[in-house]
Symmetry: C2
Subunit: 457 residues, 2 copies
């Protein structure tokens, strides 16, 4: 229709199109609200003469035609150490990952219901900017949840909602060990954390890890010689070796932190996945002198795609971390934060964890049993107390590169061993995640590996 | 019930409780899946003898009782320049903000519907880790959307999905101007961006802004003397002064970038909100030599709480930015990214923008008219071509601090003028956002301000 022309009345239009008049009225309202039409009282609806079509205004004639811009015309820092290749998943292949949650078990219905409730409750006012500390409802829910499940006794000022754990590690790293400040980590360790420490410029010292976790005597020796600002520790199921830090070492580490005034960056990503006996309370539960920064997330319990985590620390540090987070990312996703808050309050999260523990324990048992029976001659491992993966050491006669290549041809994708040996110590170890595979997939994985070794011999 | 005891049959239980048997079966299944019961074929359901209750294991007897930890026992960097005070909103007060979207107009129903569809389509496999570049569906949708609405001609490798614009600015800043590399910005400017540049250690030079935007001749002079790595520019509705960069200056800036090989960090947060004439295409639409990093987000169109933005740049830079983003935050929220992708594909976003433009234009007109009529003697401003706020200069006889205090007592909250004068030039200016207020609120705001000035005289 032309500008200025009159639209048929709604009654006529409804009859012509044989639809309900309400539908026509709704359509007319929509056209008006978008500025296509104007209604003049007692006259009718008219197509606007000045249509609200905003044209673009090019500022030059020689518009770009072919512009696959692969190379930039300016300089920037290239961070070789961050090199990261995304995994290519092929349909039908099994991925024996790093210890991922099984997305098929994600509480997707519960998320959908709670999300809709959050939207329905007409929380429009909540779609504006929210607190840089994270949504208050989630912080409140988290306060009781963490105090109850982890024996913490924190208050609300000590909580910063982050994206996943990774953001907590990045923030802590930037505030505590940037500009060549000294950091101790266990060796070997979680690559994404090492990447964050390197990225912020920390000077990294490594100490050994044994069956009781990071060796705190070695930390003490280093503290006597160096000016240590922080120790990064995974209290449960150290990545990649899966060991837990013993109670004695927890006490020792806390005492050292007090004496040498360093921060303990406690990454407790696997606290909720403990199968054999009770999980040991985190260092944060006994942080009398304000040394612990406790980091966790819901990525493992709910799903990796749900990017909500937390950083718990003394109030002054949390404040500083929140200010820094504002510069990086302003705030979190309010709708999702409220959704997770509801799931915590209604105990959905705890019930879901319980289910997962039962299922993952069965998978661990089956995977370890089959691995032992079929590949015990080539591979060496301990059954992990918890977590989602097994730390597998390969007989040094063999190398993972060849095995990886051969397994892939049969449809089994395993990780690159290099990410587990960031300091080139020659562990010949690989982390094999059992949690994301069902019974059939576990059987198939082990059978493929078995065939690979048979061919090698 | 005790461990080992048998549960009544489902039929009996259903009768006893007078509920449907299916409900009982579902409840029994749930108990079993959580590990509370075991069923023995042909015998029945029994309470497990080994209940899966995972107790916590404290590692010391002197558990913390009173632990309000306000002060940390370690050192960390305190970034004074990031100091940020959260706004306290009082019920009933009107907030004449910085130019915020009106959350009441957010397409909340559309988000809810699309979000549910995304979940329903059984995308469980998408709840795992996703690409560090952002969800592919969203990148594809964005590719056509940006090429169409902004005259870009990019390909998929040039897109990185970020949280809001802030993350794009942070990533660009860290990769290009960290460690005292030289950056030019217009003065006055957007405080959150300045904070990001300061945080990453840029050496900042300022040039002036006039009615045609940043003065490119001054940039040229600086380039001759300094080794400039980047220029930060807001092409439409410079923050806070609301001016647009003229076509001539766009051409000039691009030519300078080519000659001096610097990056143009183009923050185009307000491209979609142009009321008077057509918006000028972004610098990125004519980036022949790979100098432009184009940053935008959906925070203004959809809602600030929806944290999805994008960074468009030459492929080599996008790759580096994605690697860095992985260290900070791993990836975005897949569910939300897919929701926004659907909204773009179904044209919901464009339709919503159109609605907003019409409403915000009316609000701008009313606000400016009332401001002129009632406060023209004290305040000086130009009607902005677009955007969501007016840049108001106050007669130097008066000061904003007093006006702010008095207005607040009458229920009108205005911003702190200091954030608009980060280099202490004495502009005596304040940004007043009209977009988040409806007609009644606009009238009330101006009337409160009028009363304040009457009291002052």
């Amino acid at each position: 229709m032309r500008a200025g022309s009159k639209l048929p009345g709604t009654r006529l239009m409804a009859e012509t199109l044989n639809i309900h008049r309400k539908t026509v009225v709704a359509a007319y309202d929509e056209l008006k609200s978008q500025g296509w039409t104007d209604s003049i009282p007692a006259k009718g609806t008219f197509v606007c003469s000045a249509l609200p079509v905003i044209e673009k205004q090019p500022f030059t004639n020689n518009q770009l035609l072919n512009s696959e811009k692969n190379v930039s015309g300016f300089s920037f820092t290239r961070k070789k150490h961050l090199e990261f290749t995304e995994l290519k998943r092929e349909r039908g292949s099994i991925y024996l990952g790093d210890g991922l949650p099984d997305s098929r078990l994600s509480p997707i219905k519960e998320i959908a219901v709670e999300y809709r409730n959050v939207l329905k409750l007409n929380y429009n006012q909540d779609l504006g900017y929210d607190s840089i500390y994270g949504n208050l409802y989630l912080r409140e829910a988290l306060l009781s949840y963490l105090n109850e499940t982890r024996g913490l006794s924190i208050n609300i000022d000590q909580i910063l909602i982050t994206r996943g754990s990774q953001m907590g590690i990045y923030l802590a790293s930037r505030l505590i060990v940037s500009d060549a400040k000294e950091l101790i980590i266990g060796e070997t360790n979680y690559k994404a954390a090492i990447d964050a420490f390197n990225e912020t410029g920390a000077k990294i010292y490594t100490v050994e890890i044994d069956k009781n976790g990071i060796i705190t005597d070695q930390i003490e020796s280093l503290c006597k010689k160096k000016n240590v600002s922080a120790v990064y520790v995974t209290s449960h199921h150290h990545h990649p070796t899966t060991v837990s830090l013993s109670p004695e070492r927890r006490m020792h580490l806390l005492a050292l932190a007090k004496t040498y005034q360093f921060a303990i960056i406690e990454d407790d990503y696997a606290y909720d996945f403990h199968y054999s006996n009770a999980p040991i309370l985190p260092l944060a539960s006994n942080d009398v002198h304000g040394n612990v920064i406790y980091i966790g997330s819901f990525s493992k319990t709910i799903a990796p795609a749900i990017r909500i985590g937390y950083l718990i620390a003394p109030k002054d540090f949390v404040k500083e971390a929140a200010q820094l987070r504002r510069i990086i990312d302003r705030q979190g996703d309010v709708l999702l934060e409220r959704t997770i808050a509801s799931m915590i309050k209604e105990d959905l999260l705890k019930r879901h964890s319980k289910k997962l523990i039962k299922i993952y324990k069965t998978r661990r048992d089956l995977f370890c049993k089959l691995l032992k029976e079929n590949l015990g001659n080539y591979l060496n491992f301990d059954i992990p107390d918890g977590g989602m993966a097994v730390w597998v050491l390969l007989d040094k006669k063999y190398n993972w590169d060849l095995i990886k290549k051969m397994a892939e041809r049969s449809g089994l994708i395993i990780n690159d061993w290099r990410r587990y040996d960031p300091f080139f110590k020659g562990h010949n170890g690989l982390r094999m995640g059992f949690s994301s595979l069902n019974e059939e997939e576990i059987r198939k994985s082990v059978s493929i590996l078995k065939n690979v070794f048979q061919k090698l011999n």
